[in-house]
């Protein structure tokens, strides 16, 4: 290194390196300047590069780049200069560029361990798996006596699906370890090997392996459950039975163990399986998991007897989640009516004689009756019989006004009735009964956001965020996703596009950060040997944006960008509240304060770094794996800037691409994708989106209109490329045989006569084909039998009508609202304005 410097300068150069490692950046700069002050070395490449790297750590980005590039220009053959340039780009998260720099550095020093290690880190982070494998192999060749060399190469093979070679490497490595005492890390290594064998389908091999090493494996739980699963796979039911019996004894609430135990008993009929389950229940009467399992298996009279006993016990004990525990039984109409009958029976009997049944021996405490009332309210709410539900919950509240749970249930009933303002009221009643409970606080805040009362929601949240901080900033810093997704939706409902995009981009930023979080764990997990968990991390990160939190935010963002595209001058839909567009004085002030916040950002970031991102206790503050200096501080996200975009259809892809890949099970993904590709004029992608929407849910209400629009688009935009044209023709024939879209619509309509949204969508599609017929289709919708319509579908159609679909007159709107109001009298959206004023 720095071979071109005389001894004195060379010594100084070494000190720069040392200072950099020890984070003494000021001293490092001093030494660099000493070398550069000598006129002979003022253009010394490696010194300039190191000076740049040091400046980067002090946050002086521009100077950093200037120096590093100048250094490189002066010494293009130096691995130091290239390595430094790579580190600089890495600190700015330009990983692809950094990888290229490292590879140039290796050109001049091909066996440099540090550079190879840095390269491998970026390769796994960016999932350049081929490159990673090559680099890891190189590292192993160079340092065969280091554990990390072996483990790293094995992982690189494993993630490429090369199980055979991965196992070879690990077994070879393990041979070099023999004689050393078995410890946690060794145990983890053995289990990692077993997991690769099992993943690669080598069941017997895996079983042999864990038996052979059973004395050295300390993760008993994993050993037992893996051995049990493998035995079952191999049909060795006696061993499997013993093992799962033991596992259930250790944890009777694990439904996988219960399921495997039953399997191991090889029941030939459902009855026999139920018998096994019943025996377990006798042994573990308090296990909720065993109970649920038994309930799932039995039916008819045995179900009645079992659930009767179970419910009486839980109602007597006063277990609030009882309803939730039984809810999934309602998929079976017969079971639902049994439960309903029984609880109604308890209610009548308790009112008469304080007993669950007239022939019971014991008298119950009043709390049993209270919980019966709550249960019945939930049951009617589940059936969306709002009035009955309210009657029961009101009785419960009158019975014991200090008990919190019924207020929550009452809020939920109003939520289902479409009246968020009333719902908020009851959530607040609950919250006020226990101000120290954050759960109640969050629920209340969430309802407030749904009701459009953002300021009040934020005030509530502030009660549990760190003192002397802005609660919104604090929740954002803590990656509080529910608050962000709800805030985004609330802003969207108010057509406040800047605030909507702000929140959506904050969500996206958190996902970027969580992907970034992996970085330190690549070397860390190899040191700790927690390799099964590490492989889990890699898989999780690859799927991360498939999380509900992401798709919720992404969908709101996509709708917003579509709106920005359709109405580029920031007009609102015309019917909405439209409060936020023209800049009122209040808005202006807000914007100014946002800019101010942006300026304070840097300062805050530094403070935040000290706090290491936690509001927890002392012991959490000192812990952090590593933190790299000179990392980019992300600029604050400013919604007012985001809405100024000239290219909404490009910006939207950032949100659309991930959900298309990772949330394909959701029909909204594909209907939104269609909307985007329709505006972009991408026929093949439109076809793909419709096909996927049909595959995920053929009743998706958007399909008729989208398909009609697609047919129209294809006929108006002839494709010149013969190959593409052929594909389009084939695909269209598959979707709409003979191109007869009217016939398609007729049959879709016939299949969905009971669906309001679908009927409406077919109407829109027909009106699209023949605008003269619009009135007829509007009238069909207005004449719909609303007793069959769900509240969400009524709201869906309301929103579309308000946006101008089927061109309703004010009288038509009033008529629609009147009809729905009769069905859903509590939902304020369908009250006529004159009624609201009264």
């Amino acid at each position: 290194m720095a071979k071109d410097l005389p001894p004195k300068e060379n010594a100084l150069f070494k000190r720069i390196l040392k200072c950099y490692e020890n984070k003494q950046y000021k001293n490092g700069l001093k030494h660099a300047r000493q070398i550069l002050s000598n006129s002979k070395f003022q253009e010394h490449g490696e010194t300039l590069a190191m000076m740049g790297l040091t400046l980067n750590c002090l946050g002086r980005k521009v100077e950093a780049y200037d120096n590093v590039k100048r250094g490189l220009r002066n010494n293009l053959r130096s691995h130091v200069c290239w390595h430094v340039f790579g580190l600089l780009q890495r600190s700015d998260k330009k990983y692809e560029e950094a990888i290229k720099c490292y590879r140039n550095a290796l050109r001049w020093d091909k066996d440099n361990l540090q550079i190879l290690r840095d390269l491998s880190l970026l390769q796994i982070q960016t999932r350049d798996l081929d490159g990673y494998k090559i680099t890891r192999r190189q590292l192993l060749m160079l340092r065969a006596n280091q554990r990390a060399g072996w483990i790293g190469y094995a992982i690189s093979l494993h993630v490429m699906g090369d199980y055979e070679d991965a196992l070879n490497v690990l077994q070879t490595f393990r041979k070099t370890q023999e004689g050393k005492p078995a410890d946690y890390e060794f145990s983890e290594l053995l289990m990692y090997e077993a997991s690769i064998m099992a993943e690669g389908g080598k069941t017997e091999c895996a079983l042999d392996h864990i038996y052979k090493h059973r004395a050295a494996i300390v993760d008993v739980e994993a050993w037992l459950s893996m051995a049990g699963d493998l035995h079952i796979k191999l049909g060795q039911m006696r061993e499997a039975g013993l093992i799962f019996e033991r596992l259930i004894q250790r944890n009777p609430e694990n439904k996988e163990y219960i399921g495997q135990f039953i399997k191991a008993q090889q029941p030939e009929t459902e009855e026999e399986a139920l018998g096994v389950c019943m025996k377990l229940h006798e042994k573990y009467p308090r296990s909720e998991a065993v109970t649920v399992c038994t309930l799932n298996m039995c039916s008819g009279e045995s179900f009645r007897a079992f659930v009767d006993k179970y419910m009486q016990r839980q109602l007597r004990k006063g277990v609030p989640p009882l309803f939730n525990m039984l809810k999934h039984q309602f998929n079976d109409a017969n079971k639902m009516s049994i439960i309903s009958e029984l609880v109604h029976g308890y209610c009548k009997s308790l009112e008469v004689c304080q007993k669950f049944n007239s022939d019971s021996e014991e008298e119950e405490l009043p709390t049993s009756y209270l919980h019966v009332l709550i249960f019945l309210a939930q049951l009617f709410d589940y059936k969306r019989d709002i009035q009955e539900a309210l009657d029961y919950i009101n009785k419960a509240i009158t019975h014991t006004p200090t008990y919190i749970d019924p207020y929550l249930v009452k809020g939920k009933i109003y939520k289902h009735a479409g009246n968020m303002v009333e719902a908020v009221h009851w959530l607040e009643e609950a919250r006020n009964l226990d101000l120290a409970d954050r759960y109640l606080n969050c629920k209340s805040a969430k309802y407030l956001l749904r009701a459009g009362m953002k300021e009040r929601a934020e005030e509530l949240c502030a009660l549990f965020t760190r003192e002397n901080t802005n609660p919104v900033d604090n929740l954002n810093e803590m990656q509080c996703m529910w608050f962000l997704t709800e805030s985004a939706s609330a802003a969207y409902n108010k057509q406040d596009w800047p605030a909507t995009l702000q929140k959506c981009h904050e969500i996206e930023k958190h996902f970027v950060d969580i992907v970034e979080d992996q970085f330190d764990f690549h070397p860390y997990s190899m040191r700790k040997m927690t390799l099964r968990a590490y492989i889990g991390l890699l898989k999780l990160e690859d799927q991360l944006r498939g999380h509900d939190f992401y798709s919720k935010g992404a969908k709101v963002a996509i709708n917003t960008y579509l709106h920005l595209h359709d109405q580029p001058n920031g007009q609102t839909n015309g019917h909405g509240n439209g409060e936020s567009d023209g800049l009122t004085e209040k808005e202006l002030k807000k914007q100014l304060s946002k800019q101010k916040r942006a300026e304070q950002w840097k300062k805050k970031q530094d403070e935040a770094k000290e706090k290491q991102g936690t509001t927890g206790g002392k012991d959490t503050q000192k812990k952090n794996t590593t933190g790299t200096d000179g990392e980019v501080v992300a600029p604050p996200i400013v919604g007012t800037e985001l809405v100024k975009t000239e290219t909404p259809l490009e910006d939207v892809m950032r949100f659309l691409d991930p959900i298309r890949t990772l949330s394909p099970q959701c029909p909204d993904t594909h209907t939104l994708a269609f909307e985007v590709f329709y505006r972009k004029g991408k026929i093949l992608l439109m076809i793909q989106s419709i096909k996927r929407a049909i595959r995920t849910n053929p009743s998706t209400p958007e399909i008729p209109l989208h398909l009609t629009k697609l047919c129209d688009y294809v006929s108006k935009h002839p494709e010149s490329d013969e190959l593409v044209k052929g594909i389009i023709t084939d695909e269209m024939e598959g979707l709409v045989p003979g191109g007869k879209i009217s016939t398609w619509l007729d049959s879709y309509a016939a299949e969905h006569v009971d669906g309001l949204s679908q009927t409406f969508s077919v109407g829109c599609a027909r009106a699209f084909l023949d605008s003269d017929s619009t009135r007829t289709h509007l009238e069909t919708v207005l004449k719909f039998d609303f007793s069959k319509a769900s509240l969400p579908s009524c709201l869906y159609v309301l929103e579309k009508l308000q946006a101008g679909s089927l061109k309703p007159s004010p009288e038509d709107m009033a008529l629609y609202k009147k009809h729905v109001h009769q069905r859903y009298p509590l939902c304020p959206s369908f009250k006529l304005e004159k009624d609201i004023k009264r």
Partner: protein, 215 residues
Amino acid sequence: MHIRCATTSDLINMQHCNLLCLPENYQMKYYFYHGLSWPQLSFVAVDEKEKICGYVLAKMEEEPDEVPHGHITSLAVKRSHRRLGLAKKLMDQASRAMAESFSAKYVSLHVRISNRAALSLYTHVLKFQIDDVEPKYYADGEDAYAMKKHLNHLTEETEDTRNFINSLGMDSIEPTSNGHQEEVDVEEQLEKLNLTDVDPNICDPVVVTGTEELE
């Protein structure tokens, strides 16, 4: 109800549950730190839809001069799932894993001195004892009780489980000995793997964006 050891993909949902229930919150990285340092120790309770209704986030304190002991970083059960005894069930699982995988001798935790509900849970249901008061432990200046519970009662169970595992079939297999073995030559082993065909492309020159003018 279903209680199981937390996987890496549970961590983000544990963070969500934590933010709903407790005032002490952590960024994802801190959850990853737990999940990748002590993957055996954290547990979740999930409902029929796999939604988390309770969790325990736990770790080891591994100071070299102290006896190994576990620590509960965070424990929460959603209000909607109380009275099912989930807190105890979760804690029992975590404590056992600490003893089995890390030979923990006791488990410690902190609780706000004002949090009477939690204090009563730890004292009466979970049998923890107050060990110390840590002044101004929390970010808002509140003191904490440092609480402790010995895990002696698990020694016998651990022993019993070991015996059970050893009693299982598959007698044909020789157990591994970790006793004296001859030194294995690393280089020799490496050669056996036949890794010498390193891709020459690894050292190919690459043009880095923004440096074209340099070359």
